[in-house]
């Protein structure tokens, strides 16, 4: 303790140098904390958009569904029951369960004018449009608990409120191509001939159709969004003659980093008839991306640390040089070399502690402020800006708090050792 006090007093002797060194340290450490926070925030946004906006953290299918390429996916469906949902919901870590059916569908819009009575064809620009898309039948209440961002993404019109609604939600550009307008729920439904039809083949390839209206649209947010649409689950089940059946359960997990663990628990609970996957298994692209970013961060940290520690070495070396006479005196009056080393080490430690705490503190303050303010990222391709909320994990903070003073002390080792090697006679003579 006395050593630290002495060290502090020594540091204060050359205020300017200490100040500059501290400043460098504070900036360096602070920036690293902010950078890590920002990268975390950005990764979270990407993941959130995928997990909370589309996939869910964990998905359950009938065994063989994910790899299946050959048969209609509807053949690999599952019986949906309150018991099964309760079973899934009761597993530790599972927050909510949402049933879904994903299927290929055709949408057909009505002609803009009635067909001529004589049987001649309607001109092309008055004909209705037909197009294919991937439809996902969802239960809005359940879906909102598992993919809350999905509902938030519907920026025109609305997400259908109930599972037996007649509205569907399409990609905005797709809807433009179909030349369909959003239906205002306050107005009565258009007459049947003017309604859009949703057509699909059931698992036996028999065609069926349902009348629908466009309830809302969502913007293109990521690749592959254009040909995806949401339909009410009840409508889908009726359309596909699959009442009481689904093709997938999307499951939200709290906390999200426990997804692997929870996935295993789910698999153990429901048995081999089902297969359970986490979002990163279903979408490996993300892992590759975050891997690259983490790699960049480690390189950047390495460089920063080197420079900051260099600053400390530099400053310490200066200090030793400056106090050669003083060191000589200390040695001459019998102080042991080990004590000299400890003294300088202590100085380095004090700088590390103060600089580290202040730097981390500053970084955390900035991260926290931006966390609450949110950094909107303009995304000119999509019309929905994502908001980055930086954050740092406790683990990271702990390692920073421990590592910084340690690093500083380590950096001081060499100058301290040099100091202790001075010969008292020469030291006293010089300067």
């Amino acid at each position: 303790m006395a050593l630290l006090k002495l060290a502090s007093r020594n540091l204060l002797r050359n205020r300017r140098r200490t100040a500059i060194t501290l400043a460098a340290m504070i900036i360096g450490v602070g920036v690293m904390v902010v950078l890590r926070g920002f990268i975390n925030g950005q990764q979270k946004v990407i993941i959130e958009n995928i997990i909370d906006g589309r996939m869910g953290a964990v998905q359950v299918h009938k065994t063989g569904y994910v790899k299946n390429v050959l048969t209609s996916p509807l053949n690999l469906d599952m019986a949906d029951s309150p018991e099964l949902r309760a079973k899934l919901g009761g597993i530790e870590g599972v927050e909510a369960v949402a049933p879904r059916i994903e299927f290929g569908a055709m949408i057909s819009t009505p002609d803009k004018a009635p067909s001529p009575e004589d049987g001649s064809p309607l001109p092309d620009d008055l004909q209705g449009k037909t197009s294919f898309f991937i439809a996902v039948g969802v239960e809005p209440e359940a879906e909102a608990k598992v993919t809350p961002r999905r509902t938030a993404l519907v920026d025109h019109g609305r997400m259908f409120p109930k599972s037996d609604s007649e509205e569907l939600v399409l990609n905005a550009e797709f809807a433009v191509g179909l030349e369909t307008a959003i239906h205002d729920p306050a107005t009565p439904l258009p007459p049947l001939e003017n309604r859009t039809a949703l057509l699909a083949s059931d698992r036996d390839s028999a065609l069926n159709g349902e009348n629908v209206v466009l309830g809302g649209t969502f913007p293109t947010f990521s690749p592959g969004d254009k040909r995806v649409g949401l339909v009410p689950l009840g409508l889908a089940q009726r359309l596909l003659r699959m009442e009481g059946r689904v093709t997938e359960y999307a499951i939200s997990v709290k906390p999200i980093d426990r997804a692997d663990e929870v996935a295993r628990r789910i698999q153990d609970t429901i048995g081999p008839d089902y297969e359970v996957h986490t979002w990163s298994q279903l979408f490996p692209f993300i892992k590759a991306l975050t891997g690259t970013q983490d790699f960049i961060f480690s390189v950047v940290s390495g460089v920063f640390l080197t420079v900051v520690l260099l600053g400390i070495v530099n400053a310490m070396l200066m200090s030793v040089l400056e106090r050669t006479r003083e060191i000589g005196t200390m040695l001459a009056v019998g102080m042991r070399r080990r004590q000299i080393v400890s003294l300088f080490l202590a100085e380095g430690l004090v700088i590390g502690l103060i600089g580290g705490f202040l730097g981390i503190g500053l970084g955390v303050a900035i991260v926290t402020w931006f966390h609450h303010a949110g950094i909107p990222l303009p995304a000119p391709g999509a019309t929905v800006p994502s908001i980055i909320r930086p954050f740092v994990s406790t683990r990271f903070l702990v390692s920073a708090v421990i590592g910084t003073p340690l690093g500083a002390a380590l950096a001081t080792l060499w100058p301290a050792w040099r100091a202790s090697r001075l010969r008292p006679v020469e030291a006293l003579q010089s300067a």
Binding site: G128, N208, N211
Partner: protein, 246 residues
């Protein structure tokens, strides 16, 4: 001639020649095509058929339908069975196609290139037969007994197949076998025409057509004609979108 035996033979021969039916001479390609179109796609008729589709997993699905055809480009069909398709109707008028689904309570457009209810006829197969207009043909030596082999080549790029080998029975020109090829020369489909019988006054045609998918051999579809009436008078109005569902 001096030899009475010879004379007898000549007279017998000449009588025999005179007694032969009108097309003892090889029929022309045009005649064959016309005959085929008249058998398989008469200008106006009403028919009841059953289509059965078999998939490679062994599953079998059967549909009962009623057909109505007028001119060469107006078709209408109603589905009767099974209950999943009962009440559905399809209409083709020229290039436009509609489907009526009872659930929809109205007709809606569809694309004509889809598979017909997931079977192996594509929609054009089933609903349009006009080989005279679409193909040119040559007669070749047939590798099947007592048949003419008519090799057809597409006249325009809009036909489903690039070339077709049609085997027609020599005795009555009924189609027996068909092979349908893509532009590369690979056989995409093959058909067998069997159960030839009279459906309407003087009108004989195959009662059963089995279409095999030559690329996925375990897939096939059968069309069984249950009844057919020719020259049905149908107002053009029945082939408009507004008539569907009535």
């Amino acid at each position: 001639m001096a030899n009475p035996e010879m004379t007898m033979r000549v007279i017998a021969l000449m009588t025999a020649v005179l007694a032969l039916p009108a097309f003892a001479a090889e029929p022309t390609v045009d005649e064959l095509l016309k005959k085929y179109d008249s058998i398989m796609g008469p200008t106006a008729y009403e028919a009841e058929t059953t289509m059965t589709a078999t998939r490679e997993d062994g599953s079998v699905r059967s549909y009962e339908m009623k057909f109505l055809k007028k001119d060469n480009d107006k078709f209408r069909l109603w589905f009767g069975n099974p209950s999943s398709v009962k009440g559905q109707e399809m209409l083709r008028n020229g290039e436009s196609m509609w489907i009526y689904l009872p659930n929809l309570k109205r007709a809606t457009r569809i694309a004509s290139r889809d598979n017909f209810q997931g079977g192996d006829f594509n929609n054009a197969d089933v609903l349009r037969v006009n080989y005279q207009a679409d193909y040119t043909g040559t007669l070749e030596k047939s590798d099947a007994d007592a048949t003419y082999l008519l090799v057809l080549k597409a006249k325009n790029p809009d036909t489903s197949y690039d070339s077709i080998r049609l085997y027609l029975r020599k005795s009555d020109l009924q189609p027996m076998k068909g092979q349908y090829f893509g532009t590369s020369g690979q056989m995409i489909r093959s058909a067998e025409f069997t159960d030839h019988r009279e459906f309407d006054k003087g009108y004989v045609r195959p009662g059963k057509v089995v279409m095999k998918n030559e690329l996925v051999k375990a897939r096939k579809s059968e069309m069984v004609m249950k009844s057919l009436k020719l020259n049905v008078e149908v107002p053009a109005q029945r082939f408009t979108q507004s008539d569907l569902g009535k």
